[in-house]
């Protein structure tokens, strides 16, 4: 038996030579990479328009959209349109998210609740909203109320489906743990179900946010005097391609920003996960 106490030499050499396996996951995040896609898209659009490959009748050139944007801004209260649209979308989204999450938890945690709630929501999901509007008009009139209810219903669906799915995907071992610890339903929901279903919920949020914006196009056809959806509807009737594209760009920008915001939240709220993404 030979035994020696090891005395470290504590060199100051900080050379780093690691063995690194080929990474199979996506690797580290590239900073600001989420700007690249949109910028490329813009570049292609500009190039296509400049070279005449994209005819202005089909898709207005970016610079003409800028002009149209300015015109809408100064002459047609574009800011007012955007704000009133956002207010509608936000209110509807808020209600929809609340309703969707509550229904998902109820139907996720009880088979009886599920059999009553789940079917009708899946059916609602399969039916075009546009076709349901007459019903909503009959029930809620054609004022603000109808618009907000419609948007709430539209954005409720993805929240419900994703939260429910996320909840049902929670590892059963955590439920066992909670059962042996002897907590009630309330604490179980708070400490296990909600955090466990959070990834699903957040994915639902990404869809709900864009759905609520898209819902504007539908509801603002009805008795709206302002709003981006209203602007697009009008422009479609007139065939004002440039104004339509202004509207689309606004949608694209808001949708993309909202989506990016949810994904950043996701990253922070799910810091406990070690996945391919981290």
């Amino acid at each position: 038996m030979t035994a020696t106490l090891h005395v470290s030499e504590r060199t100051t050499d900080t050379t780093d030579r690691r063995v690194l396996r080929r990474r199979l996951g996506p690797g580290r995040r590239i900073r600001f990479s989420f700007w690249i896609g949109p910028i490329v898209l813009l570049a292609v659009w500009a190039a296509g328009s400049a070279t005449g490959l994209i005819k202005p009748a089909i898709l207005t050139a970016p610079w003409d959209v800028v002009t149209a944007f300015q015109e809408q801004w100064t002459d047609h209260d574009l800011l007012g349109n955007i704000l009133s649209s956002l207010a509608r979308a936000a209110l509807g989204l808020g209600l929809g998210v609340l309703a969707g999450a509550v229904l998902a938890v109820v139907s996720g945690l009880s088979r009886a609740g599920e059999s009553l709630i789940d079917g009708p929501i899946q059916i609602k999901r399969s039916v075009p909203t546009l076709a349901l509007i007459p019903l909503f008009i009959a029930w809620f009139g054609i004022g603000q109320e109808m618009k907000i209810v419609t948007i709430a219903l539209i954005s409720m669906v993805p929240i419900y489906v994703h939260t429910h799915n996320g909840l049902r995907g929670i590892d059963g071992r955590y439920a066992e743990l909670a059962e042996t610890i002897g907590i009630g339903r309330g604490e179980f929901v708070r400490h296990v179900v909600l955090p466990g279903a959070l990834p699903g919920f957040l994915l639902g949020m990404r869809f709900a946010v864009t759905s609520s914006l898209l819902g504007l196009v539908v509801v603002e056809q009805y008795n709206a005097t302002s709003g981006v959806g209203h602007m697009i509807t009008l422009a479609e009737q007139y065939g004002q391609t440039d104004v339509i594209v202004v509207g689309l760009v606004i949608y694209g920008v808001f949708g993309y920003l909202a989506d990016t915001a949810v994904r950043l939240t996701e990253r922070r709220a799910l810091a406990w996960r070690r996945t391919l993404d981290t």
Binding site: R173, E176, E179, T180, H191, R273
Partner: protein, 246 residues
């Protein structure tokens, strides 16, 4: 039955009769198991891998709803389980994991104390994934010990610990047992550990309690010849031959 009649004067804390459990395809795992554990008694459960030790613990913990079988089980109300996997909630930091479900204003303080006792002071705010295997196991242990159960079911709670830490955890568990006197059923693969801690060692085989020995050593020292004798007997029961043991 093996437990001496003196224990059965008071009603047992755990009473299992004729317990059968089986997973559809693999035949019976528990085949008519009987077991009594007196209040305050410390029982160590040994047995080959895959003999059904965890299955028995799950049955006692009330978690085997979807498993086929029958039998009669009685357990006390306040049960605490240390699972074989440490089963920390990944979305909770260490301290909230320890005090999860704990009520009372001093829950946090008690959690911190328990963490300190398992040697993890200062790691209260770490995420589970930031802990080493042994650290996770100790958090899981702290979570069980911070509660004051009438029955503690522990499934290899020291498996991932080094010798010194293990000895410290033994002491901690003994202290807790002296203070609250829970009935304990501890699964372990370490025969020495079983003898060192338990009042009784039972061995599971073929789905029943095959061996049931009382550990009545006065000083639990390896140097006690009866320790060695008991150890030899148990290893023999486990099928470890003299040849293997060299």
């Amino acid at each position: 039955m093996a437990a001496d009649p003196g224990h059965l004067i008071t009603a047992p804390a755990v009473r299992v009769r004729n317990l059968h459990r089986s997973f559809s395809r693999n035949g019976g795992v528990l085949n008519g198991l009987d077991l009594d554990i007196a209040p305050g008694e410390f029982v160590a459960l040994i047995g080959r891998s895959g003999t059904g030790k965890s299955t028995l613990l799950r049955a006692l913990a009330g978690l085997d709803r979807d498993v086929e079988g029958y039998g009669q089980i009685t357990v006390p109300g306040a049960v605490s389980v240390v699972f074989q996997d440490s089963r920390l909630l990944p979305w909770k930091r260490v301290l909230p994991n320890v005090v999860f479900g704990l009520r009372g204003a001093d829950a946090d303080r008690r959690g911190r104390d328990a963490l300190a006792e398992v040697g993890l002071e200062g790691r209260e705010r770490a995420w589970p994934y930031q802990l080493s295997g042994g650290e996770q196991q100790r958090v899981s242990l702290a979570r069980s010990l911070v509660r004051e159960p009438q029955l503690l079911l522990a499934d290899e709670p020291f498996g991932a610990l080094d010798a010194l830490t293990r000895i410290r955890m033994h002491a901690l568990l003994r202290k807790l047992c002296e203070r609250h006197r829970p009935a304990v059923l501890l699964v372990t693969h370490d025969v020495d550990e079983a003898i060192a801690l338990a009042d009784r060692v039972i061995q599971l085989d073929d789905g029943v309690v095959r061996t049931d020995v009382r550990v009545d050593l006065t000083r639990r020292s390896r140097h006690d010849p009866r320790f060695a004798e008991l150890r030899a007997f148990l290893l023999d029961e486990l099928g470890v031959t003299e040849e293997d043991r060299r």
